[in-house]
């Protein structure tokens, strides 16, 4: 009888593969690579900060695409909304405190996420993809049109964030921006790890695999996805805000289809459905791009293309996905 006591039952069941310690190891790995990045490339911090901003965008794509199965080629709308929200707060309302700007970015991203979600979730499959393209293009056009707020195609300038905590100024070497970026990334990553384990995260994965089954369990597919879209918007918005702070300009490119498509490519490159995949994909893509485009500014696109093709051929689940699979296989033997 006693064996059936809830606590005992729980104790009898082997916990699954993941465990809290793996989470901490992951966070520690991110932190460690951040420190290594800082020490090894003290002169590339601007690039690295930009990478962090884009990592947030790609994480945000992962939330809807990798976890929920909603394909999107329009996620830059969320990122750009965050960037413009932070930039406009600073340039037009004098809100120059970096933390407040990040908050503005997150809020802007969340609102854009809500709008995108409301539209995109009305479609299925390819329809979704096209709706997302339409959304990002509409956002882009709108930002171009209200040039008095956004600076139009000349970009939004005059963003001058005040020093972080009133002490650390955003300088040429970009140290402050980098440290701020890393701190934000670690926080966001920690929260997303939690999220992906949570009942909500599980429900989302269920939706990706079979939405009809989820509905047959009495859960609302639309509401769940919309919620995820808003969360995803906040994550992208933080990235956009970070970008606005570190570059002090926001351009229309941050709302572009191109950026959206790149983000998706980075995600698939790293491996969908895993937070690590999103980070690894972005870092590999951007550093590789930076490296080859500096090495050969004229023909690097071909090499980039070859990389993508190579990944599909030799690591069809993306870099992280395939590595994890290999590791798993080896361990099982």
């Amino acid at each position: 009888m006693d064996a059936n006591h809830p606590a005992n039952v729980a104790a009898q069941i082997a916990r699954p593969r993941f465990s809290a310690s793996a989470d901490w190891i992951g966070l520690a790995a991110i932190f460690a690579s951040a420190v290594v990045g800082y020490l090894l490339f003290p002169n590339n911090l601007a690039l690295l900060t930009r990478v962090i901003g884009i990592v947030m965008l790609v994480l945000s794509v992962d939330l809807v695409t990798g976890f929920c199965g909603v394909a999107t080629l329009g996620h830059a709308a969320l990122f750009g909304a965050g960037a413009y929200a932070a930039g406009i707060a600073a340039a037009h309302f004098g809100i120059t405190d970096p933390i407040a700007m990040i908050a503005a970015g997150a809020a802007g991203g969340a609102v854009a996420g809500l709008i995108s979600g409301l539209v995109v979730l009305r479609g299925h499959g390819l329809g979704q993809l096209v709706l997302s393209i339409a959304i990002v293009n509409l956002f882009h056009e709108a930002a171009n049109k209200v040039a008095s707020w956004t600076g139009g195609s000349d970009g939004l300038t005059d963003i001058a964030p005040s020093p972080l905590f009133g002490v650390f100024a955003f300088d040429l070497w970009g140290r402050t921006a980098y440290v701020l970026g890393i701190a934000l990334l670690v926080i966001v990553f920690f929260l997303l790890q939690r999220l992906s384990r949570s009942p909500f995260g599980m429900l989302c994965r269920g939706i990706r695999q079979d939405p009809i089954r989820v509905a047959a369990m009495g859960a609302s597919v639309r509401k769940t996805l919309l919620k995820m879209y808003i969360i995803s918007g906040m994550v992208a918005g933080v990235g956009g805000g970070l970008n606005a702070i570190s570059t002090q300009v926001v351009g229309l490119d941050s709302l572009s289809f191109t950026l959206s498509a790149q983000a998706l490519v980075m995600l698939v490159l790293g491996g969908t459905g895993s937070l690590y995949g999103a980070i690894i994909g972005t870092v590999v893509f951007m550093l590789f791009e930076d490296f080859v485009s500096a090495a050969n500014p004229f023909h690097w696109l071909t090499i980039m293309g070859a990389l993508l093709v190579g990944v599909v051929l030799f690591a069809p689940r993306g870099i992280f996905g395939t590595a994890a699979q290999l590791f798993d296989r080896r361990r099982r033997r």
Binding site: L45, S153, Q248, V249, G251, D253
Partner: protein
Amino acid sequence: ETIKVGVVGPFSGPFAIQGKNFKAGIDAWMALNGAKVGENDVEIVYRDLPAANPAQAKALAQDLVVKESVQYLAGFYFTPDAMAVTPLLEQANVPMVIMNAATSAIVTKSPLVVRTSFTLWQTSVPMAKVATARGIKKVITVVSDYGPGVDAETAFATTFKADGGEIVESVRMPLSTTDFSPIMQRVKDSGAEAVFAFLPSGPTTLGFLKSYNENGLKGAGIQFLAPGDLTQESDLPALGDTALGVTTTFHYSVAHDSPENKKFVEAARAAIGNPAELSFPSVGAYDGMRVIYKMIEATGGKQDAAKAVDAVKGMAWESPRGPVSIDPESRHLTQNIYLREVAKAADGTYYNKEIQTFANMADPGLAAAK
């Protein structure tokens, strides 16, 4: 000692031809003037920025300054990219020489910015004068809906109206437009005597000019006025007869008749490989290099941005495009603007034939902004 110059431009991507022209202009300069200023070697470090992307522009500039330790930043095809970099200059102690980006306001963002290209105000205002001189009363403007297009429209309309002309309609079309028939129909229906147009050079200009012909506007006697971006030399082979007779105003024609230009074109064509690809960004780059060499000379190779910029204020020389000088106050280039017409040469190639000169134009855009 080696002095590094960081050049940011579109070397791949849809605008690669413009980046190629940057490089051709720079190579031409170095071929003609050597890679040494006094004791110092000059080395160019290129960074690719395929499309307008201020965040990346800033990251690249930072990378150039901090890691490559460049003493000069140059290039910049798009305005937002240049704008993104200006806040860095002071702290980095680096002057920036703009070889293309054409929005007037950039030079006001930092005292360390010098421009050797042109602004859309500079090239559009003379076109309004031409229209008035031709006795045209009603014009419709058609521009691409982005910064430079709006600049061109404003510049033209302001000047034309001040001279008593009438703008019957102002059309702004999305950059992505590919089919211009409906726009031409609209031009036709507007009752204007001439159309003032601006599109970024590239694939769409072909369709635009074709539509102009095919929809019978040319036949109906509606004149075509535009800044020279529309008849960029590299597009002329593709435009072919379609462009014949189109008149544009611009600061530079590859066919400009002067010994200085002959020398330049020869060197630049050798550098670019395909002679047909040479066009205006190359001359901005060529003159930009002249300015940078002067700066190096003035500072003796020491990094001192303010001194370097001061040294070129008021500098005047004979450029391949004609006589030019740097306005000491705005640090923008005062230059001649030419009215040109697309013509066919004896060897069957097309070129922009200069038919009228507007001498010593400063940037009217800066004046208008005040």
